[in-house]
């Protein structure tokens, strides 16, 4: 038989037999592979969702945790780690699809409102009052539960916090503070002078962070918001944190009239916008705030590329940066800075609403087991095993309340499951300043309960306007917060855009709901 094709492209015909054999092989492999791994969890293994990355040495520690969990409660757990960038959308998708995982992290800044509205979360009041979960109830302050009640009065999440209030602040290079500020910074003016000295003499930015309205407007403190360090008594109101901020009247609690206005009508906020613009032009803040990712900024700071960066009072300032900073800049130290005018006698306003709530999936395989797990991790021994690893292998106790990591196990996202104020251990190398402020932040008495503490606005009536205003803030507000545009021109554009998007209706709705809240509280 002569070849089939033309002379330019001689071909070896694919025989039917070999094609069928190949296809059959592939399909058989497909069937085998498709059937084997996707069978789901075993009968006594429950899934959970955790944000972030799989901790190093996780398989070993999970084995230890599961062995104890099985001995104590008769089941095991299998957390699924979802990276932060995708966590919000992935968790929402899994809730929407009705997956049977047990618990997840949620909060107002994630999507708890949608989940509650769609009845995807289990109300927890009855379970908490039942007495079946004593360790859980004992390890979470009742104030924290009360501050996190939804407007319908129910509790939908366990506050997973390790301090009473999370105060935004600065993590500073202690060696540079020694060099340029005489070893201490007591107020915002000194901090500003320190930044300018560092920029001029070291050639590195004074403060780096990704773009955030809270840096500029403060709630009640912001890294670049000077007024917040003088009188930290203002918490802006908003339907969602990525949308427009409103400022309630100073006397709202006494008059019962919220009279909230857009943030630009509050003089200290306008002053802050101008200050940030100046910082941007002077090289005090990083110019790539609009698109810098957290990982890059952390690497920049840890590599000695900035004098200060953003921190929050969760006890992780030193643990998160010191090791890598020391490798890049021998002799470098860290310092936690909260430049309150009145130091630790300040009583900042707080809502005590938790940034992290562990919610129980209403479609979960066994909601009682989910609460048993939350109770189990509220026992010191179990909490330590999950969070710090195996004692003697991964960590050593230091004193009564600290730990020294001696292995690679780190970064378990306890904030999504096991953070409890009385059970947390401090990093043994925690700086003196961080230790002091962290202890201060754990005491509810160091804060003033804001009149809008339990106010959670409902955006049902203004969803369309809210969506359009959020888009306008993303387009015109974010460059303002980054200092990337001239303030007056930028504000004009923002005002025009939000006016067209329905600012008046949204403002009226917010005031109506806030007034109702004040009348009821």
């Amino acid at each position: 038989m002569t070849p089939i094709l033309d002379g330019a492209a001689p071909a070896r015909p694919v025989s039917r037999r070999s094609f069928l054999a190949g296809s059959g092989g592939v399909l058989a492999a497909a069937a085998l592979a498709a059937c084997s791994p996707g069978a789901g969890s075993a009968g006594t293994t429950y899934d959970l969702l955790l944000p972030g990355d799989v901790p190093a040495q996780w398989d070993r520690v999970r084995g230890l945790v599961n062995a104890k969990l099985k001995a104590d409660l008769g089941f095991e757990f299998s957390p699924e780690f979802i990276n932060w960038t995708n966590y919000s959308s992935q968790a929402l998708l899994k809730f929407t699809a009705g997956e049977d995982f047990q618990t997840a992290l949620s909060a107002r800044w994630l999507n708890i409102a949608q989940l509650i509205e769609s009845q995807a979360l289990e109300p927890l009041d009855d379970a908490l009052a039942s007495g079946d979960y004593p360790h859980l109830v004992a390890s979470v302050n009742q104030d924290a539960f009360d501050a996190n009640r939804w407007p319908d009065g129910a509790i939908y999440g366990i506050p997973a916090v390790n301090s009473a209030a999370r105060i935004h602040h600065h993590i500073a290079r202690g060696d540079l503070v020694d060099k340029y500020a005489g070893g201490s910074i007591e107020n915002f003016d000194q901090l500003e002078k320190f930044w300018y000295d560092v920029v001029q003499k070291e050639g590195i930015p004074g403060y780096i962070n990704r773009n955030s309205p809270f840096d500029v407007l403060g709630a009640p403190t912001g890294a670049l918001y000077a007024q917040g360090w003088e009188t930290p008594d203002l918490l802006p109101l908003y339907f969602s944190s990525d949308s427009l901020m409103f400022v309630p009247a100073q006397d709202a609690a006494t008059t019962g009239s919220t009279n909230a206005v857009p943030f630009w009508e509050h003089a200290p906020y306008r002053e802050s916008l101008h200050r940030v613009r100046k910082y941007y032009q002077d090289g005090i803040i990083n110019a790539d705030r609009l698109n810098a990712d957290p990982a890059t900024l952390k690497s920049q700071f840890d590599g000695g590329g900035a004098a200060t960066t953003w921190g929050i009072t969760d006890g992780l300032d030193t643990a998160g940066h010191l090791d890598q900073l020391e490798k890049a800049v021998p002799g470098a130290t860290l310092m936690t800075l909260l430049p309150f005018r009145d130091g630790q006698s300040t009583r900042p306003h707080q809502t005590f609403q938790a940034d992290n709530l562990v919610v129980v999936n209403a479609a979960g395989a066994d909601t009682a087991a989910a609460l048993q797990l939350l109770d189990w991790v509220s026992i010191q021994e179990n909490h330590d095993l999950l969070q710090y690893g195996e004692e003697g292998t991964d960590w050593e106790p230091v004193g009564d309340d600290a730990y020294e990591p001696i292995g690679d196990y780190a970064n378990f996202p306890g904030f999504a499951l096991s953070w409890r104020i009385p059970l947390e251990r401090k990093y043994s190398r925690m700086s003196e300043s961080e230790s002091s402020w962290f202890e201060w932040s754990k005491d509810y008495n160091n804060f003033t309960l804001d009149p809008f503490a339990s106010f959670i606005p409902d955006l049902t009536e203004i969803e369309t306007e809210h969506a359009q205003i959020t888009a306008a803030v993303a387009e015109f507000g974010n460059p303002l917060f980054a200092g990337a545009v001239e303030v007056d021109k930028g504000l004009d554009k923002l005002k025009k855009a939000v006016d067209q998007a329905g600012l008046a209706k949204v403002q009226d709705e917010l005031n109506r709901q806030a007034d109702a809240h004040l009348a009821g509280s």
Binding site: L5, P13, S15, A33, A34, D53, A97, S299, D408
Partner: protein, 311 residues
């Protein structure tokens, strides 16, 4: 059955052919202005593509301390292999390479088989099947079922969580490539098919022994498209694969870009050189698929243009 003879190759050039005139040789040394402009333009474009790629390579070989302070540079100084050492110290990259290879090889095989099959039926113009199959293939170009239904289908109906087939199956039919192949198949000379049928060949035999061998260019092209798609796929893996040991390479890279802590998961300590590792992972990730292009290149233009012009 008789076979189709290939055209006889032309006889050797007669020895008496006149030598090329001298003037013609001169013209060869002076290329046309358009050719010069084309070369310059293409070279410039190539440079624009190559420079960033080179800077990624150079960055992956630059010490982390300098990289984090000064950013990209054209030459790696100080030279450092720390990122590659970190990456290859653990098993994560090897495992993810295995996952990506499986997804790419098996996925491409299934996709090419499925696409060729459906394209041939559409191309034959059968009154009872071709049109309906064409519509069936065309609709997903315009509409999709949406993320949630697909998620439920894959995880709850097909039970494919943590299976690499959850990454493969949603991508095995690309409507655009189906129609590219349909166009190519329609260009197959009808006389050849008729001759085969007259000689007693059944439809399967025509397809396997006549059509497929004649369609190597377009198969090579769609195979390359599918291979690149499967190689670069991370989104479905993100949705459906939660066991880190089964992560494909691109998902490992994506996780690494979104979080520094993932660097520790590659097998070294938490103080891994993050900037450097990101760039090194990019090099490692794109390297193998780049090698596929030279092999498929000789079919590339022919496969696409035949399909495009003979439709």
């Amino acid at each position: 059955m008789t076979s189709i003879d290939a055209p006889v190759a032309p006889a050797l050039r007669p020895a008496t052919l006149p030598a090329a005139p001298v003037g013609r040789r001169r013209r060869r040394t002076r290329p046309e202005p358009f050719t010069v402009a084309s070369y310059v333009g293409v070279s410039f474009f190539g440079l624009i593509c190559a420079v960033p790629f080179w800077m990624v390579i150079a960055g992956s070989l630059t010490d982390e301390s300098v990289l984090s302070q000064t950013g990209y540079s054209f030459w790696p100084s100080p030279f450092s292999l720390a990122a590659y050492e970190t990456i290859f110290a653990g098993s994560r990259v090897w495992l993810s390479y295995g996952a990506t290879l499986f997804i790419t090889v098996v996925g491409t095989t299934i996709a090419v088989a499925a696409t060729s099959g459906i394209a041939w039926v559409i191309a034959r113009g059968l009154p009872w099947a071709s049109r309906s199959l064409a519509v069936y293939a065309y609709i997903p170009m315009l509409f999709t079922g949406g993320l949630v239904p697909m998620y439920i289908l894959i995880t709850q109906v097909l039970q494919l969580r943590n299976s690499w087939f959850s990454v493969i199956l949603p991508l095995v039919i690309a409507p655009f490539l189906v129609f590219v192949q349909v166009s190519f198949f329609r260009g197959t000379p009808q006389e050849i098919l008729d001759a085969a049928r007259i000689d007693g060949a059944g439809e399967l035999r025509v397809f396997f022994q006549i059509v497929l061998p004649l369609s190597k260019p377009v198969i090579a092209v769609i195979a390359l498209f599918y291979a690149v798609t499967f190689w670069n796929e991370w989104f479905h893996a993100l949705l459906f694969i939660s066991e880190p040991d089964k992560y494909p390479l691109q998902l490992v890279l994506q996780n690494l870009i979104t979080s520094v802590a993932n660097a520790a998961d590659l097998g070294s300590t938490a103080s891994a050189p993050v900037y450097q590792i990101r760039l090194a992972m990019t090099v490692i990730t794109i390297g193998p698929i780049l090698l596929a292009y030279p092999f498929a290149q000789r079919y590339f233009v022919k496969g696409l243009t035949l399909g495009a012009t003979k439709g």
